[in-house]
Structure formats: C-alpha cells, structure tokens
Symmetry: C2
C-alpha cells in the first residue's frame, strides 16, 4: 500500500482485514444513525458503504452536538486531467460541508507531483488550475471553501511542516511509505507538507479544532502518521472518514488517467461517454439476455448502475432501477443507457457551473486573514 | 567533517590535504594579484591566508572584468549569541561587497536550527533578530544587502528548494552529511533550502548570474553538493572563497557558544574582554619574560595578535606590532593589552552602529520585488 504507486485491485473481502490492520473502525449502523441525526438523510456513498470506515468520527459528532466546531480537509494531486473517479470523493465532501456548514480546506499538492513524477512544473501548474475549476464546479460554498495550492501557500505550509518533520524520522518515512535511499529528499519531506492542513486552522486560530478528512484507503498511511505526530504538537489527532477504492470503469483497480479508455474524463463529450459505458463498463449483468431475464443482475458491482446511483439526484428512481435491474426486468443495455444519460447530465451541469465560476476562482483561494 | 557537529581542531598542515580531497584550489599569489587589480589592496584575511582556498574565484574575476555582474551569499544559523569568531567571516564579506559593490544575500537559517537543535522556536526567533542586528552593525550597504530569514521567505525558498531536492537522493544526503535513518526528514530536506540563495537571483531575474560564497571549510559539503546539482537546473555552479576555522580564544577548535570562557561575545564589556584575553587567549609568546626577550613570539598563532591584526584599521601599526612582538621587544602582556584595546574599540563602534540601525532593520530585509 503506497499512496504514490497504488496499483491493482483490493478485493471486497480484503477491506475489513485492511481496516483491522490499520486500526480504523467500520462505520456501523449505530454511527450511521448518529450521523443521520445531523444530516437528515444518508448519502448513497454511506448507504452503499463506499465510505465504510472511520477514525474518531463518533467523537467529531459528539463534540459537534455540544456546539464544538470542526472542519473538513481533502486534497488532490494535480498530475493530469480529472476523471469521474477523482471527483466522487469531492461529491461526498461537498455533501458533508453542506450538511454541517463547516470550513473546508482543499489542498492541491503541486509540489508533490513535481517531486514524484516526471511532469514539467509548467504542466503541473496548468493541471492545478484546471483541476481546481473541475472541483469547484461541484458547487462548494464560496465563503467556507479554501483552496490551498502548495506552491502558493508554501510559506505557512513550510513553517508548520518543519514542526511535523522534526518528529518524523527517515526510518519511519521509509517504513510507512516504502521510500528507499535512492528516493529524493523532497519525497521524504513532503508528507510533512501534506500533514499541515490537518492542524492548520488550529495553528492559525490558536485553539484546538477537530479536522475530519475524507480520503481513500490508499491515503491512509499519510494520515495515520499524522495521528501519531499531531498530539506531540499539541493538536487533536485528525479524524477520518475512509472510502474503498472508487468504482472503476473496467471493474478492476483504480480508474487510471494514463489509459483513456479506463476512465470517463470530465471533458468527454456525450458520445464518448456513451461509447465508453457501452464498450468498457464492468457489468454486473448476465452473459445473455435470457440469463439476465431469468437470474437478474448484480447491480452492486455494476459500474453503470453505480454511477447512476451516485449521480441521479432522485433516489426513488434509483431504488426502482435497482430492483428492475436486479430482478432481470431491466437489461444491461438499458442500464448502460440510463447511466450514460445520468453521467452526461451531471457533466453538462458541471460544465455550465465551471463556466460561471471561471472568473471567480480567486475568491475560493486560501487566505490566512480569513481565519484571524 | 559534518557542518552540524564540527568539533575538535583541524591542524594547519591538514588544510592542503583537505582542499585536495575536496577538489577546491589554493588561492595562490597569481590569483591574489588578480584580485588586487579590482580591490586595490588585500584584506588581512587574505594576506594571512585565513581565507586560503576557492572554487572558480578566477572565473568570477574574469567575468567581472568583462562587465558581468556577480553577487555574494553568506549566512548564519541563529542558534545563540554571536561571538567574535562568528563575526570575522562577515567582516571579510563586507570587504568584498565594498570593493565590488555587489548585492549580498545573508541567509538566517532559523528553520535549520529548529530541526537540528533542541531550542524552542521562540528563542530561535529572538536569536535571529539579535544576530541580524549584530551582523548589520558591521555597516553593510543598505541598498545592496538582503537578509533572508528562512521562515519569512519560506515561500520563495521552498518553491525553489523542491527543484534542488528532486535531484538529491537520501543516500547522497547520508553520504555527504553523515545523516542516519534515525535523523528527522527535515534535516534531509534542509540542505535544499540552504542551496537556494546560491541561484535565487538568477531564478528571479531569469538570467544566469554568478554567486560567490565566502564560507568556512566546515560548510564545504553543503556547497560542493550545490555545485553538482545547480548545473542540472541550468544555473552556474556557485563559486566559493573558503576560510580555515576562525582563530579561537583558547587556540583549539572553533570558538564555542556553550562555554562562555571560550569566546569573546559581542556584548562582553571592556573588563570582561580584558579578563578573557589575559586569562584564556592562546599565546604565541614564550613561557618566561627572559625567553620572550631572547627568542621572540610567534605572532601568527597568537590569538591576541590575530585579533589585533584583524580589527586594527591602521595596517602600519599592525606591521610594527608584528615585528616588535616577533622580535621579543614586545611581551605577551603588552600584546594582550593592545589586543583588548582593539577589540573593545571594535565592539564599541559595533554597539553604537547597532543602536543607530535598530529601527531600520526592515530596510535590509530581502524583498523579491527589488530584483524584478
């Protein structure tokens, strides 16, 4: 498990084992009910257990019920164009922000991408700008959303990162991230930069504020380390809400930016989306029409259905499609058409919002004075 | 040779060997004559061969004679109060700046001190402020002197440091600095922060400008590495003018801040200076008055004489004292009295200049806009 070179597939049955090894907890029904008290409803990412594990989420909710604030932190490494798989965690983060009305830090790790990849800085800068627009197109609250571009905020990040770095040995960095002596010293240091947003608002405001981080399980190493070190700096351990790997078009591994047919990109046009779904989407349906009618599909592993479930705003419709597809009354082709429509509707909405915020991106940028 | 934990003594006869190992060159008479063409005179640090070696100083002078600019870079780790030994290299740097009328970057590595020492950040900040005042009291040109406090300039430093860090492996950092797996990741990264001023003006101005760095031989590892890596970023190798360890009160090792009697601090009063010189100064004189009269002293290894030579502005006087002391006409006690007077005069001048610039320190701070 290396956040920089995660590849291959994690099997569904491996998740509980992983979580047990890592010391996180499964989000159980009791906790879901707790959450529902505040959110009124449960996001499909929760009911489908895509976000399935946590650290201290119960404490965050407990504190919140007593009127104590918390904030959200998530991020993106701007290595290239964004695809749907990249955007899904942000959809969930936006839902959390909307429900709890809290500040959100979004860290764009352009420095990391420079240090670990062979991409020229100019290209990373361009990616960063485009990715920010993609993310903000989801409709985050302007006054509570704070985008940290590492290279823009390196002063406050570095000055806090050295506090963290002083408490992290090279040997721990090696053990946790699989770094070798042949790796560059920037990689060794970087995890300290990535840890900063987890205590930054506490540092700025001069009082301890809980930070809740939604992330994929492949990023767990970074934040587990932060949980070891932050208390030594006088801060809370960061809390986490952890997802499985996002569903992938071809049903195996993460969606990959390098293979254009393995993912649906945010700038794919309607026809391309339809073609990719028809041709590549991993199906939970049966091999023949007859079998499908007789035995029904397994919607839970079906890429087309999952995208439909996450992107279709009307949950009544989703429930109906689920049972139609599962029972065999709906065929894979129909499911795929519905899914492509939902994806295209989502992407089209994204694009028009993107256009409308294009000249207003600066208002979303992190500004330390806003917290003083 | 570890810049963080240099201890003990380097014997005079070891310097040529060290230089040969490190690939630097001795400053020979030919080069001194070249230098003199521009400076008109030679600083005692050069004639006494305290600054005795170099890298590419000939090229810097050659380019300068063709009208090409260069700049100076030096620094200080603000770990505590400054003593005379700390200030000597800055005296020489000021001389270079005066003679060539060039920009000078002075890096205050507060981040490094935090990472490698057990000093609270608050104390480091205080030291930094006091040390800057001490250094500037030497009378550096305001419009051409630019103090970089790492924690203040971490944005521009970090953004350039990652370019350097990408090209420096942990294994090289280990080999060069003796770092271990048990060292913190900040130490691994820091050398990249220290390398930045060696190419910063080139980076800002977008054209290649030579950088000349006066430093003690114990810092050579840092800059040798910079010479390997900077060309990979498209910049000149930094040039160097390298000193032996500064003369120490007790004649062995560096002056140490931890033992108050091993050094003359800038805030020692006249009586303390006199007492330390009389009691602790390593003497090149003979054991008895009779022997001294008969055989004379060795002024070159005599701390009192060396301080006198470096701090007395009138070189005719210095030459006279040298021959008087060497011949035995002058006794150690007289030499020490002269030296204490010269030191006290120097410190007193320093203090009054310190007072006069106290409220003007901001004008000396690095400001990227000054170079655009």
């Amino acid at each position: 498990m290396n956040p920089w070179e995660m590849s291959g597939e994690i099997k569904e049955q491996d998740y509980p084992k992983l979580i047990k090894e890592f010391g996180a907890k499964i989000i159980d029904d009791k906790l879901l009910n707790e959450l529902k008290k505040f959110t009124g409803e449960l996001h499909p990412f929760l009911t489908t257990k895509l976000f399935f594990a946590h650290r201290d989420l119960d404490t965050v909710l407990d504190d919140y019920s007593k009127g104590k604030e918390f904030y959200l932190y998530t991020g993106r490494g701007p290595s290239g164009k964004m695809h749907l798989g990249h955007l899904l965690p942000f959809i969930f983060t936006k839902w959390l922000q909307d429900k709890f009305d809290v500040d959100l830090l979004i860290q764009m790790t352009d420095d990391e991408k420079y240090l670990v990849r062979d991409i020229p800085m100019e290209e990373i800068r361009k990616n960063t700008h485009e990715n920010i627009l993609d993310i903000l197109s989801l409709g985050f609250k302007k006054e509570k959303t704070h985008v940290i571009i590492d290279s823009e905020q390196s002063k406050i990040l570095y000055n806090n990162a050295i506090l963290f770095a002083k408490r992290l040995t090279a040997s721990t960095a090696k053990a946790v991230f699989g770094l070798k002596d042949s790796d560059n010293v920037g990689k060794y240091f970087f995890t300290s930069m990535q840890a900063v947003p987890a205590f930054l608002l506490s540092a700025i405001k001069g009082r301890n504020i809980r930070c809740l981080i939604p992330y994929g399980i492949d990023q767990d190493d970074h934040f587990k380390l932060a949980r070891d070190i932050l208390p030594k700096l006088g801060y809370y351990k960061p809390s986490a809400i952890i997802s499985k790997l996002m569903p992938s078009l071809q049903g195996s591994g993460k969606m990959s930016s390098s293979d254009p047919n393995s993912s649906i990109f945010l700038d794919d046009n309607e026809e391309t989306v339809r073609r990719k779904i028809n041709k590549y989407a991993f199906s939970g349906g049966r091999d023949t029409k007859e079998e499908q009618r007789k035995l029904g599909a397994n919607p839970d592993i079906d890429f087309a259905f999952n995208m439909y479930r996450f992107l279709e705003p009307d949950q009544t419709k989703v429930d109906k499609v689920y049972s139609e597809y599962k029972s065999g009354r709906m065929l894979s082709g129909e499911m795929k058409a519905l899914s492509a429509d939902a994806i295209n509707a989502f992407l089209s909405k994204l694009r028009s919002r993107r256009e409308s915020i294009k000249d207003d991106v600066d208002s979303y940028m992190f500004d330390v004075d806003r917290f003083k």
